[in-house]
């Protein structure tokens, strides 16, 4: 706990220093990066120690705010979510040192201040054990990330994203306030330790409010609308942190609140599983239809949040069914996937950032052939793509294996949850396939083939701090992939703090053999790849590989424009799912015999935004307009409203 307080202090000090040095960007950057790195080292040490030794420490200080106390609790659940926070904010700071170098120098101080504040607030969200402290940290997190989304505020797109993010954040916070007030017994500080399950419909209301509030941060369908706007708008190291870690705070909060709401009715788990399946499938389909790299990655985050929610939902169903073995498997699959997703999504966003920094665009149709100019970035991106598609020997495979095992166990003869198990298995299979297609499209059209435009001409390999930062999540991906059994102990500790100590035993009983097998298989596969690589290197020794034209089907003059484009690659799949994705193509009608100039563009319609949010927003605007007579624009009237409200309150309380 002391180490964590130290890292919190370091982050806040770094944030303050960075803002103070806003006139000297180099000093601001140094303060921001150094604080984030040091804090990461301290924090990682503390959380790993808690996870592996199963410790529990708490701290409570009085805080002279009504219903508040400065209570921090470090239990295995908190420690588990602290690991991605510190890994990615440390790596993100290092990456940002290279990424922000040279542009928007006058904003560097504010950007670093907000970045360190974001790290500190996420740490505090995970540690806090008082609702007021939690909400303060939660709002600080929203505020600092909002500032970072607005980093390029000259672009209208960034302003729109920031506005949407602010509104959804506020709506989520409102729902959370409702949930906490339902959970908290009246009077006294709103400490988590005092929270109790309210009776009757209030418990369901608290659950739904928490699901809505945390879901708006976690970004599952249909609460994901801010994600594909905000992630592309933010600088890439911030996207990595936001998508890798910040949206996991929604999952963390949901788990924490669910802990107060035991026992769970069956429909809660079913609802979460259904949301998870819809977001997993919808997310990957929308990702497939995108043609901007970071937007594609953002939709893929929606997909992965869906996978995590599916695991949570199945686990909750199992708990309400009394099947703790299944619950242990599903929860650990979900938790491990949360960690894994932050590793590979962080890596992928950093890779995308390197491409955008060196070419100035993330449009897939303008890129291509970058693996020759940015070989290291290309291999990192390939690694991340393989991991996110759930391929062995990487970490995505391990967590999806756990989720699949849970699904199979639910299908088994002793379980009453067979239909839900089938949903999990089918969605997992479909999502895995589509995600692989999606990332073949992404990394293929960026790094392989020939350049599709002149923008890649000046592309250079990313700078050293950026490459070093990418090595951190890459190492994590390989470690979890090769040694999955090492995850058993921390996962058991976390399960113990959610479900009680009994559940931890089930996990090692059911998962240790498959995980050991997965580890062995991964090691074998890795050894095989290494052997092939060595053999290739040996065979090529002393010879020079020749470069020649690709087989061109008899075309005399193939040009780069004839190669597969990103959207032509995915068109067969997007056509199949046209009712959901709604890709609209725009092209001129050919009217002459010898048409000259023509253009073609496709765009996937944001289905949920258009069919759910736009009409709702129109209704709200219409309703608000009916009250516009209240808005006279005169100071006197506003003062009168305040006075009337105060007098009304006074009379009401008499």
């Amino acid at each position: 706990m002391l180490l964590l307080l130290l890292s919190l202090g370091l982050l806040l000090a770094g944030s303050a220093l960075a803002v103070l040095f806003f006139r000297r960007p180099a000093a601001a950057r140094a303060a921001g990066v150094a604080a984030a790195l040091l804090a990461s080292v301290c924090g990682l040490a503390a959380s790993l120690q808690t996870l592996f030794s199963g410790g529990f420490s708490s701290l409570s200080l009085p805080w002279p705010v009504p219903m508040a106390s400065f209570s921090l609790v470090l239990d295995p659940l908190a420690a588990f979510f602290l690991i991605p926070i510190f890994l990615l904010t440390g790596a993100g700071a290092l990456y940002g040192a290279g990424y922000l170098d040279g542009n928007a120098r006058e904003r560097a101080g504010l950007a670093w201040g907000a970045f360190d504040l974001l790290s500190a607030s996420m740490t505090l969200v995970v540690l806090s054990a008082n609702a007021v402290l939690f909400m303060t940290a939660w709002e600080l997190m929203a505020l600092s990330s909002f500032l970072l989304v607005l980093f390029d505020h000259e672009r209208p797109q960034a302003r729109k994203a920031g506005y949407l993010y602010l509104v959804t954040g506020a709506a989520g916070a409102l729902a959370l306030l409702l949930a906490f007030s339902l959970l908290s017994p009246s009077g006294g500080p709103m400490d988590f330790a005092r929270f109790a399950r309210p009776g009757g419909a209030a418990a369901a209301a608290a659950f739904l409010a928490a699901l809505c509030g945390f879901g708006l941060k976690a970004g599952f369908i249909p609460l994901h609308v801010w994600l594909p706007e905000a992630h592309p708008a933010a600088p890439s190291h911030v996207s990595a942190v936001m998508s890798g870690v910040m949206i996991k705070m929604g999952i963390y909060g949901l788990l924490r609140v669910l802990g107060f709401l035991l026992p769970w009715p069956a429909w809660w788990g079913g609802l979460i599983l259904a949301f998870g399946a819809v977001s997993a499938l919808g997310g990957v389909l929308f990702a497939l239809a995108q043609h901007e790299l970071k937007r594609l990655l953002a939709y893929s985050s929606v997909e992965n949040m869906g996978l995590i929610l599916m695991g949570l939902g199945l686990g909750m169903l199992a708990v309400s069914d009394g099947d703790y073995a299944l619950a242990a498997l599903s929860f650990s699959g979900a938790l491990l996937h949360a960690l894994n997703h932050s590793l590979f999504k962080g890596l992928l966003f950093m890779g995308a950032g390197s491409v955008i920094k060196s070419t100035g665009t993330g449009e897939l149709e303008a890129l291509g052939g970058l693996s020759k100019k940015m070989p290291v970035t290309a291999s990192y991106f390939l690694l991340g793509s393989a991991a996110i598609s759930g391929l062995p020997p990487f970490n995505g495979f391990v967590s999806e294996l756990l989720l699949g095992l849970a699904g199979l166990l639910a299908l088994g003869p002793r379980s009453r949850l067979a239909p839900w198990g089938a949903v999990v298995i089918v969605s997992l299979a479909a999502v895995g396939t589509l995600a692989a297609a999606c990332f073949v499209k992404a990394s293929g059209s960026v790094f392989l083939g020939l350049p599709r435009s002149r923008r890649t001409d000046g592309a250079r390999e990313a700078g050293r701090p950026m490459l070093a930062a990418m090595a951190v999540p890459a190492a994590g991906i390989a470690l979890v992939g090769l040694f999955p059994s090492a995850a058993l102990r921390p996962l058991s500790a976390v399960l113990g703090s959610i479900l009680g100590p009994g559940a931890a035993g089930f996990l090692s009983a059911y998962a240790s053999v498959p995980l050991a097998c997965a580890g062995a298989a991964a090691a074998g596969l890795a050894a095989l790849l290494l052997a092939l690589w060595t053999a290739r290197a040996l065979l090529l020794r002393g010879r020079k590989p020749g470069a020649g034209p690709t087989w061109d089907c008899g075309y005399a003059e193939p040009t780069p424009r004839m190669q597969y484009g990103a959207s032509s690659f995915s068109q067969p799949l997007t056509d199949l799912f046209q009712p959901v994705i709604r890709v609209i193509g725009r092209y001129p009608r050919i009217q002459e015999y010898f048409p000259s100039g023509a253009s073609f563009s496709t765009e996937a319609q944001p289905l949920v935004y258009n069919t759910l949010y736009t009409p709702a927003a129109r209704r709200i605007r219409g309703l608000a307009y009916r009250f516009s007579w209240l808005q006279q624009g005169r100071l006197q009237f506003y003062i009168m409203y305040i006075a009337a409200a105060l007098i009304g309150l006074l009379l009401w309380k008499l």
Binding site: S628, G633, R634, L635, Q636, A643, L650
Partner: protein, 221 residues
């Protein structure tokens, strides 16, 4: 002693009514100053024991501020702004008086319902509430910025008397806190009014809505 205090209370209520009907700006400033002086004298008259030196000094500061410094600042602001010499009400004077009387009735009812400790001086709670309401009335129904300052001052008088009713012995704590706020507010407003009138040639707050980004016509475009 309490006879005198109750006389002061009656005067304060009369001044409230006077403020509601007075159209001249300088008369308004004088009425507010008079009310402030009376309110400042109240702790000297309402105390059950003798007057301590601290209470006397405190009352002297209040009387000086409300009777001399604030009126001087306000008259200066009025002269510099070159505004018209009447208060330009949004509602007619009879309606203002009706509101003021209604607020006094409501305040009497409210004063009987509020769970307050016994006070030695009759009508002190209703009078204080009525003064607060009159302050609100001045703020909401007069257009000029300077009358809003006056409204705040009247409200402050009301809050001060209310504080006196609750803590007859030491109203200082309450008063000092509020007084500081009001002093700063009057100071800032004095400067702001001067600057606004220099920029826009008037101090009509209704016209200031031109500066807001709310456009009724802009809806839906």
């Amino acid at each position: 002693m309490h006879i005198l205090a109750e006389l002061v209370i009656v005067l304060i209520i009369l001044l409230d009514l006077g403020l509601a009907v007075t159209g001249s700006l300088s008369a308004c400033i004088r009425l507010v100053a008079a009310q402030g002086v009376l309110a400042g004298l109240l702790p000297l008259l309402a105390g059950t024991e003798g007057i301590s030196a601290g209470t006397a000094a405190f009352a002297a500061v209040i009387v000086l501020l409300k009777g001399a410094v604030f009126p001087w600042l306000l008259i200066r602001a009025r002269d510099r702004s070159g505004a018209r010499q009447d208060v330009e009400p949004l509602v007619s004077y009879p309606v203002s008086v009706a509101f003021c009387l209604g607020s006094f009735v409501a305040a009497s009812w409210l004063g009987s319902r509020l769970p307050l400790p016994e006070t030695g001086v009759a009508w002190i709670v209703p009078a204080s509430l009525a003064t607060v309401f009159t302050g609100f009335l001045l703020i909401t129904t007069r257009t000029k910025a300077i009358t809003q300052v006056l409204g705040y001052l009247v409200m402050e008088n009301g809050i001060y008397i209310f504080g006196l009713a609750l803590f007859v012995q030491q109203p200082m704590m309450v008063e000092l806190a509020i007084l500081l706020d009001v002093f700063v507010a009057v100071f800032v407003m004095g400067i702001a009014i001067f600057h606004i009138s220099r920029e826009f040639d008037h101090i009509d707050t209704a016209e200031l809505s031109e500066l807001s980004d709310w456009r009724r016509e802009g809806y839906g475009s």
